[in-house]
Amino acid sequence: MFKNEEMEINMGPQHPSTHGVLRLKLKLDGEVVTQCRPVIGYLHRGVEKICENKTFFQGQVWTDRMDYTSAVANNLGWAEAVEKLFGVTVPRRAQYIRTMLTEFNRLASHLIWLATHALDIGAMTVFLYTFREREAILDLFEAFCGARLTTTAFRIGGLREDLPPGFEKMVRTFLARFPDCIEEYESLLTENRIWKKRTIGIGKLSAEDAIAMGVTGPVLRAAGVAYDIRKAFPYAAYAEMDFEIPTRTEADTYARYQVRLAEMRQSTRIIQQCLDGLPEGPVMAKLPKVLRSEVNEVYHPTECPKGELGYYLVGEKGSTNPYRFHVRAPGFINLQALPMMVKGSLVADVIATIGTLDVVLGEIDR
């Protein structure tokens, strides 16, 4: 009557909860996952190869298209990696504006994560609230650089333009409103019984496992490791900012939710400090028209909303394009821990776990 054999099913690549085109080969014993093998590469465009054949200025455009929910943070990593390769000193005002916009991007990315994660689990309402604030942030990006999603916000050596008139007022209006908005999301989810039931104790990943698997970002911090590249290896203007690294020790999906919400509060603090302490001066360093590199290699890590985003660049003497470009995408490494996290859990919890990793297939497949 009852069959006891294991069943193998495909989740994705055309599954709405896999956040793009992720395919999971699941082996099920009834409702319990016994084995999980992620299959990726459906969105592979060869960004690394393309950038090796483009100049340093053109390469930045491709970084927008990797993690499209945090294009500004990707741009910052690229600009800083190239600046490190050439030894460029960036003006302080440009550093502050970069930091501010990157933190806005962190907010936008966490908002879209919260929306889709809650939507996957079944809380539809949060989506409508978070997208309201994300819209305001995208308006800020639009006012700054004209684009909303694929921003190409920065230039190598600084910024193309200073802040537009009225930008400061827009930011202050947003900052006055935003803490209440976080309260609103919390009122919808934090004490919600269904939300707690679906997230507490789900997708656990201990600190030792997380470090062994190279997992970074909120997933690592929710396991109790206070590792944030903004503090550990400060870049842009983060060394001058006063903020905390929120951590939890439960290492489950609920803890990651709390860490990300706390991070959003810290981001608003950083934005406030950037705005208040914005130094005067130029926003662009003096650079030659054509950048020709020397033999050098850099690995520049930045704290992307998803984790450690590292750009590895090798320069060839007299060349205008990188000899080798490699992206250490946070999603790629974090997704590797998924089989470990879902083993022994229910199929429905796989969806919650994918959501909590905050994967974007654009950067995983590159």
């Binding site: 990726i40 590469g41 592979h44 060869g46 690394e48 190869k49 393309i50 090796e52 054949n53 490190k84 390769l85 050439f86 030894g87 460029v88 000193t89 960036v90 050596g157 470090i211 062994a212 698997m213 190279g214 490791v225 590792y227 550990a232 290896f233 360093a285 003096k286 650079l287 030659p288 020397e294 033999v295 050098n296 290699e297 850099v298 690995y299 890590p301 450690e308 590292g310 590895y312 090798v314 320069g315 060839e316 003497k317 060349s319 000899y323 080798r324 490699h326 250490r328 790629f332 490494i333 590797q336 497949d365 590159r366």
Partner: protein, 280 residues
């Protein structure tokens, strides 16, 4: 069609997009090469100046003998002052305690250690990489718990190696980073780092997929981003950016079939897989 019998064979030579410019230099960052190049540049400059002076002396002697006016003495060129906010981070000898410690512990296994742009680089013996990674992770003085990144670079112009595999290690406790590098010839299979750092699993699969370096004792040495049956390894320098797998499809209305025929001809030139429609 390049090959009438099997339309699924790429005509690589016939395709205009397959012009790949191979690199002529080996941009492997190294303190030794840098110092050699600097010394060579200084020597070349000195030789040029000595030649200019000798020429001047000869011309002067000749002018005196002929009873003409003496020629102008040569002027040594002064480099133009650089007003850019840019200073090339030149490689410097190892002074960081971690690099010195590695040198003292590993001895001859460290081929080169230097610092550049604030980053520590340690080039080590390729056959001892697993042992060195274990040391970096477990030694109390080093304590690099996390492998942040592993990747490789193709150097087709180099003589005694083809790839440089780099490991970027992170110490969360000490807030430090270290780059280990091994130089690998074509066909050599380095020891897999999965036993020490499980992160390396997908990273090494990606290296195999993109550059074609296989790793020994890797639990799952399969392609990861490209399909299993993909031809070639895309991040090698001989791999073209355009052409492979590219299709030329025209969606305009084509009642007489002329456009299709042109497309077929073009496809033949490019060596692209479009099958001719079968006559009913």
């Amino acid at each position: 069609m390049a090959n009438d019998e099997s339309p699924y064979v790429y005509d690589l030579a016939g395709a205009p997009n397959h012009q790949v410019v191979m690199p002529k230099t080996v941009p492997l960052p190294s303190l030794k090469t840098y110092l050699e190049e600097q010394a060579a540049a200084v020597a070349a400059d000195e030789a040029k100046w000595a030649k200019a002076q000798a020429d001047f002396e000869a011309a002067k002697a000749k002018a005196e003998a002929d009873g003409k006016d003496a020629p102008k003495p040569p002027v040594r060129a002064v480099p133009r002052p650089d007003t850019n906010d840019m200073k090339f981070p030149a490689p410097a000898p190892a002074t960081d305690p971690d690099l010195l410690y590695l040198q003292s512990v590993l001895g001859a296994k460290v081929e080169e250690a230097f610092q550049q742009a604030g980053e520590l680089t340690c080039q080590v013996d390729k056959s001892a990489i697993l042992e060195i990674l274990t040391l970096c992770r477990d030694d109390r003085a080093l304590g690099y718990e996390m492998l942040a990144d592993e990747t490789a670079t193709h150097y087709p112009a180099a003589k005694d190696f083809a790839f440089a595999v780099v490991y970027h290690l992170t110490s969360i406790r000490r807030c430090k980073r270290l780059r280990l590098r091994i130089l690998v010839p074509e066909g050599f299979e380095p020891e897999s780092a999965v036993a020490v750092y499980p992160t390396a699993n997908w990273l090494e699969r990606e290296i195999w997929d993109m550059l074609g370096i296989r790793f020994q004792n890797h639990p799952d040495m399969t392609r990861i981003l490209c399909p299993e049956d993909w031809e070639g390894h895309p991040l090698r320098k001989e791999y073209p950016t355009l052409g492979l797998g590219q299709r030329d499809i025209d969606f305009r209305e084509d009642r007489s079939g002329v456009l299709m025929r042109i497309a077929m001809e073009k496809a033949g030139n490019l060596g692209i897989n479009i099958k001719p429609p079968k006559a009913e």
